[in-house]
């Protein structure tokens, strides 16, 4: 029998296995993240390489990409976000259902990159909360995969009550969202 994944810590007995529900849900979620590739520029091309067969994002469970935010778990912002694009990105993020995570790929999405100018948003964390940043210009597919793996670690270890917690609500309020 092939071992698909490591079981979480728990108590085993004849015919049963008891563990925390957080671990099971986290395990299921982390291996089936459906990303939304918000690819704007060059980092989007690197993402295309990451999705392709050589680096294959599908092995991590992200075989099905979704361009509809309503059906996506992970918002991957890849590329330069102009100030004019800011409200669009925010609207896409607000349309995502909980639980949702944000991965900021590349220097431009993380901090504006080399484009320190009047038209470029100096980092998407000015408008939406970000979970993992992947620096690079552009980051290699291996680095993007590393970012995905870090997201997976966050997903696996997250409490299922986190989205209702006061701390999370405070975080959203700091961005002006409910």
């Amino acid at each position: 029998m092939a071992n698909i994944t490591k079981a979480p810590a728990g108590f085993e007995g004849p015919g049963f296995f008891a563990t925390k529900i957080d671990s099971v849900v986290g395990l299921a979620r982390k291996n089936s993240i459906w990303p939304l590739p918000f690819a704007t520029s060059c980092c989007g091309i690197e993402f295309m390489a990451t999705m392709a067969s050589h680096y294959d994002l599908g092995r991590f469970g992200s075989e099905r990409l979704s361009f509809s935010p309503r059906q996506a778990d992970l918002l991957m912002v890849m590329g330069t976000i102009a100030k004019k694009m800011g409200p669009v990105l925010r609207q896409v993020y607000e349309q995502m259902a909980e639980p949702r995570w944000v991965l900021s790929v590349g220097a431009c999405a993380s901090s504006g990159g080399i484009f320190d100018t009047y038209s470029v948003l100096q980092g998407i964390d000015r408008i939406i909360p970000v979970d993992v940043y992947v620096p690079g210009c552009p980051p290699r597919p291996e680095q993007i995969l590393d970012g995905i793996i870090k997201i997976q670690e966050l997903v696996a270890s997250e409490s299922i009550r986190r989205r209702d917690s006061a701390e999370y609500k405070e975080l959203l309020a700091s961005y002006g969202m409910q």
Partner: protein, 164 residues
């Protein structure tokens, strides 16, 4: 068609308004007074022997140290003769105001919006003069020389590392 032909045709109509007529790297460049630019473009388009029916581009320029700071540059192209022409008009007026070229070339619509968005040029009679590439609520004209290059909302820049 060649430069001499074009020069002669426009000199007969606009003789005293032409400020310069030179060949720069194989392209004829004519500098004309601000108030006559629109008439010149109309003449170049409508005249049978010239027929400059294509507006290649329209740009604004800003040189704060020059005698006349702002200028509008228009590139025209005559299809049949495959001849290109550059027109310039300089002015010190702030905001620089020109009559709209949309009645001559529909393509001028977005080109004038770009000149408005980045330099603050006004075009009287333009159907919809508003910002095109920048945020609608932006203040200032980004491509003017006095506009700061870097985003002013950053707080984490170390002056020493940036040579200030």
């Amino acid at each position: 068609m060649d430069a001499a032909f074009v020069s002669e045709k426009i000199k007969s109509r606009f003789g005293d308004k032409i400020l310069a007529d030179e060949m720069l790297y194989d392209m004829q460049c004519i500098t004309i007074r601000q108030e006559s630019l629109h008439d010149l473009v109309r003449f170049l388009r409508d005249d049978e022997s010239l027929g400059f029916g294509f507006l290649t581009t329209m740009n604004a320029m800003h040189f704060p140290d020059a005698g006349e700071k702002f200028s509008l540059v228009i590139h025209l192209h005559a299809w049949k003769q495959n001849y290109r022409l550059r027109l310039k008009a300089f002015t010190n007026q702030d905001p620089p105001t020109f009559p709209t070229f949309t009645n001559l070339f529909p393509a001028a619509n977005w080109m004038e919006r770009e000149a408005y968005d980045f330099f603050g040029f006004r075009f009287t009679g333009h159907p919809d003069l508003r910002r095109i590439l920048n945020m609608d609520d932006m203040e200032g004209w980004p491509l003017r020389k006095e506009y700061p290059l870097e985003d002013q909302a950053r707080y984490d820049k170390d002056d020493k590392m940036f040579g200030r």
